[in-house]
């Protein structure tokens, strides 16, 4: 430079000695926010996490991320009521991401590919009893086994699966899928003893030499109500009906069937009746549709299959071939009260689906285990009053879905493990939620009107044995790629590309970025243009800065 004219001609790039970071009053910081789907998932899945892998077609990695929390994706992909999709931010853009469909795709792919679950940790020498082989039991067994404990499942029935087998009809959950995912868990070396009802938990623990137990018994006892009925009247219990669909000779229901109740089980019963040849399947419910406990999707599908709903009605009596119905009306508190008007319905049989109870007799000899209102009292970590004894699923109430059972099982298993190791349960702090407004959705391609119907179509195609079909690989990929990655950087390079001061440093694929506070002037463009809300401004700390 010496020969260059003084001051008139300058050295290239010499402004690097001018640290403009001192201009800053606010500084951008990278953060992770909780995506609504993960937040809402009862099974505690890292949905965004496994979608991230699915987006790039890394399906096995996606599946492995998934089963870290839930060993039953193929099942979950069929029976879950998808709270994740209800809260999906994408729904405000065009259509919620078909998370459940992708989960099922991954689950089925894993079965087809014969992917096996991760190897258990070295044996801890601890023996754990799991009561019940339903979703809660299986999930608990899986997590405990992975943590190195030896696990034995005691199942009262002669076949594995609990309510997944005896409560959920085949058309919603084909048994080969159930068997495949159960087998995969058992392959980890989980002991399964069938026809082993546990009637006295304390004794079973003692005699079996178990260090603890996770009780995951399902709600298998149908509720009853007193209805005046002729002896000739044919009245069955929905739970039994669905149970009897497995294996032994199914009962004959006749052509005209009335189902009493408004829960998912009522829908299952009605739709099962349809499949058993009933021409009329009428659901009688004492309140209105919006108060029906059954999930909307179940009601829709039942209606599509020709199931008729009778709202604001109670059955006052049952005779051979007919039932008498009394019309109800809602009082100002929304409680149904009789109107006195009666109506007759032809019915060859009446199925009662008025809810289920859990048989908690096994705790009768455990004074320190509180049983109230048909459920076991547990702490936040799902441990009962008896140290080392946990309860999950139907037994602790909650929404009594497969998904929450699986989620509780995971939490119980981890809590149990921590207890055994004498470590406190590490409570990983939850990130703040990533609401829709925190996103800059410009950067996501929109789904034009014409393709939106296709989204739905791709997710459900009616077949005889299974209502919903699976996604083709292309559709699954497409669906996965619709994820907005809410609250978590997916390395779109916007911050790196749009900083007027080149103050964002790209650390390389997978390593995200770093702000160069020597030069960042704190304009906040990176925050404004981050598609997924993974950067935030915070007040400059006087001590630091460029």
């Amino acid at each position: 430079m010496s020969d260059q004219p003084f001051a008139i001609t300058l050295e290239a790039g010499s402004s690097l000695s001018n640290k403009t970071g001192t201009w800053r009053v606010e500084r951008p910081v990278y953060l992770n926010r909780m995506p609504p789907c993960n937040d809402a998932c009862p099974a505690g899945e890292d949905i965004q996490g496994w979608l991230f892998h699915a987006e790039s077609g890394a399906y096995e990695e996606a599946w492995r991320t998934l089963v870290a929390d839930n060993p039953l994706p193929a099942i979950m992909g069929r029976v879950c009521y998808r709270p994740c999709e209800t809260v999906c931010n994408r729904a405000q853009l065009d259509e919620a991401v078909g998370i459940n469909a992708v989960e099922r795709f991954l689950g089925d792919l894993a079965v087809a590919q014969g992917w096996s679950l991760p190897e258990p940790a070295p044996s801890s020498g601890t023996r754990v009893l799991v009561v019940g082989s339903g979703p809660g039991g299986l999930a608990a067994a899986y997590h405990l086994r992975r943590l190195g404990h030896s696990v034995t499942i005691h199942e009262a029935a002669s076949r594995v699966g609990g309510m997944m087998r005896f409560g959920i009809p085949r058309y919603r959950l084909p048994r080969d899928v159930l068997d495949a995912e159960v087998a995969r868990i058992l392959d980890l070396g989980v002991g399964l003893e069938l026809d082993r009802p546990v009637t006295d938990l304390a004794m079973t623990l003692a005699t079996g030499g178990f260090d603890g137990a996770i009780v995951a018994v399902g709600a298998q006892v149908g509720k009853h109500t007193e209805i005046p009925a002729a002896d000739s009247a044919r009245i069955l219990d929905a739970v039994r009906l669905l149970h009897s669909m497995e294996g032994e000779e199914p009962p004959s229901l006749g052509r005209r069937v009335v189902v009493y109740g408004g829960g998912d089980t009522a829908m299952d019963a009605a739709r099962t009746a349809k499949r058993m040849g009933a021409t009329d399947a009428v659901v009688v419910y004492r309140r209105t549709r919006d108060r029906m406990p059954a999930h909307a999707i179940e009601i829709e599908e039942a209606a599509e299959e020709g199931v008729v709903m009778k709202w604001l009605s109670t059955i006052s009596s049952v005779d051979e071939g007919r039932v008498v119905i009394e019309k109800m009306e809602l009082d100002e508190t929304g409680f149904p009260r009789p109107t006195g008007q009666a109506e007759e319905l032809a019915a060859d049989s009446v199925i009662l689906a008025l809810g289920q109870d859990v048989d908690l007799a096994l705790f009768s000899d455990m004074g320190d285990v509180a049983v109230r209102g048909g459920v076991v009292g547990v702490r936040a970590d799902l441990m009962t009053g008896r140290p080392g004894v946990f309860a999950v699923g139907d037994a602790v109430g909650d929404d009594r879905t497969v998904t929450s059972a699986v989620g509780q099982a995971k939490r119980a298993a981890r809590a149990f493990d921590a207890l055994l190791r004498g470590e406190p349960m590490e409570d990983h702090h939850r990130h703040p939620l990533a609401p829709f407004y925190s996103l800059n959705t410009w950067y996501y391609g929109d789904a034009p009107r014409e393709v939106r119907p296709r989204l739905e179509l791709a997710r459900r195609t009616a077949t005889f044995d299974e209502v919903k079909g699976g996604l083709k690989e292309a559709d699954a990929l497409f669906e996965a790629r619709r994820c907005l990655s809410c609250g978590n950087c997916f390395e779109c390079d916007n911050c790196f590309a749009m900083c007027p001061d080149n103050a964002v440093i790209k650390l390389g694929e997978g390593d995200r970025y770093r702000i160069d506070y020597d030069f960042c002037k704190g304009c906040g463009i990176c925050v404004a243009e981050c598609p997924c809300g993974a950067i935030a401004m915070e007040p400059e700390r006087p001590t630091s800065g460029g």
Binding site: D3, P5, A7, I8, T9, L10
Partner: protein, 419 residues
């Protein structure tokens, strides 16, 4: 080769022989013949490796030359009068950036009133632009100065303006020895720029410079000009040898060594003055003349030496600084001892002929101490008196410029020369 040739043509051929890479110009009288000729040479193929750019204004002409120079290509342009003023902002810029452009200024008056004829107002308006300014006395010199100008500009990294009187020289057909290509090649090496825009060595040319360094930048520009004084002489000597010419340096003295009265002037008027000097000397008067070739940088020492012991200096100024008087004479005054008196003769404005007769009468007046400090040569006094009188009736009384200035300190400088 000796030829009877128009000044513009001779200059065009000299410039072409310097192998410029980019020549750009906008038409303005009386510079047109030069660039027309160069344009023709590029089209005919006589001048290869050169692009002639027809630009949309003088402002663009100088700017194109700057761009070309900044990437290391020899650039040339020519202009005059309003054209020079229209490009003046960029002229200063080229001076400040030190881009070694060579530009011919076919000196012409500046309007209003519009006037296409010769004087030095244009060059004087650009005298502080940081350019080297050389003035040609005749077409031989104009030709030679252009060739030296490229060498000079590139050696000292400053743009050079070669001034030749419009029409008087540009359109005069005279005997000129136009150097051959070989002779020019032997004298002028290829252009190696001091600073250049190059993707391999990126630099930033043309920074914003604040108060903390601006004065230093200007100081260095001044130093560069002072340094150029020596370079001009050195190159002059070398050129004289290579081309077998009489040496022409910063100034050209003629009978000034023993003169008591020395005339100082720029450009083509010098010829007539020399004739007059011979005339007066034949009558025994000790008069001489010093022509200034390098007006910027101004050769204070060389001029001082050339003027020698003259007791009186008469400066013929071909431009007027209204409200002051002579421009050249103000500079000349700086080169003189206190005891040397100085008078300014404003002459040849807007093409007004400067005849030997008029020059002679001025000098005779000076010799007998009858020359005012400021005289307008061949001024139509009747006309201006009438106009002044008219103004006086309007209520504003004005002193007549020449006598008016007589009241100032300049009179004290006027001494009588021995008679």
């Amino acid at each position: 080769m000796l030829r009877q040739i128009e000044g513009s043509r001779a200059v065009a051929e000299a410039v072409a022989a310097c192998r410029p890479g980019v020549v750009c110009a906008y038409p303005i009288t009386p510079q047109t013949h030069i660039v027309e000729a160069i344009g023709a040479m590029t089209k005919s193929g006589q001048l290869t490796g050169c692009r002639f750019v027809n630009v949309e204004s003088e402002f663009a002409a100088i700017s194109v030359a700057m761009g070309a120079s900044a990437v290391g290509t020899r650039a040339y342009t020519a202009t005059a009068s309003q054209g020079l003023l229209f490009m003046l902002e960029a002229v200063y810029n080229a001076g400040g950036l030190g881009l070694p452009i060579v530009m011919t200024v076919a000196n012409r008056a500046i309007g209003a009133p519009i006037n296409i004829w010769n004087d030095h107002s244009d060059a004087m308006a650009a005298r502080d632009a940081g350019w080297i300014q050389l003035f040609a006395e005749n077409n031989q010199q104009a030709t030679d100065l252009h060739i030296q100008a490229f060498r000079l500009a590139e050696e000292v990294s400053l743009p050079v303006m070669v001034c030749m009187d419009g029409f008087v020289l540009t359109h005069a057909v005279e005997r000129v020895d136009v150097p051959s290509q070989d002779e020019v090649d032997a004298f002028l090496p290829p252009f190696t720029p001091r600073q250049v825009l190059d993707p391999h060595l990126p630099t930033s040319i043309g920074a914003l410079v604040g108060p903390e360094a601006f004065e230093e930048v200007r100081y260095l520009a001044h130093a560069r000009h002072l340094h150029a004084l020596n370079t001009i002489e050195r190159i002059g000597v070398e050129y004289a040898e290579v081309m077998h010419r009489p040496f022409c340096g910063l100034v050209s003295p003629y009978h000034s060594g023993d003169a008591e009265l020395v005339v100082v002037a720029l450009g083509s008027v010098l010829g007539a003055v020399k004739d007059v000097v011979d005339e007066l000397r034949s009558g025994g008067a000790k008069v001489g003349v010093v022509g200034i070739t390098a007006f910027r940088p101004f050769p204070l020492e060389a001029l001082h030496r050339a003027v020698g012991n003259a007791s009186q200096v008469v400066v013929i100024d071909r431009a007027l600084s209204a409200g002051l008087g002579g421009i050249l004479s103000s500079d000349v005054a700086m080169a003189l001892d206190r005891r040397t008196s100085i008078a300014t003769v404003i002459a040849g404005l807007g093409g007004r002929a400067i005849t030997e007769h008029s020059i002679e009468s001025v000098l005779r007046d000076a010799l007998v101490g009858r020359l005012e400090p400021l005289r307008f040569l061949d001024l139509d006094h009747a006309k201006v008196q009438q106009e002044l009188a008219h103004l006086e009736n309007e209520g504003c009384s004005l002193p007549t410029p020449d006598t008016g200035l007589g009241a100032t300190g300049l009179t004290k400088l006027v001494g009588r020369v021995g008679t």
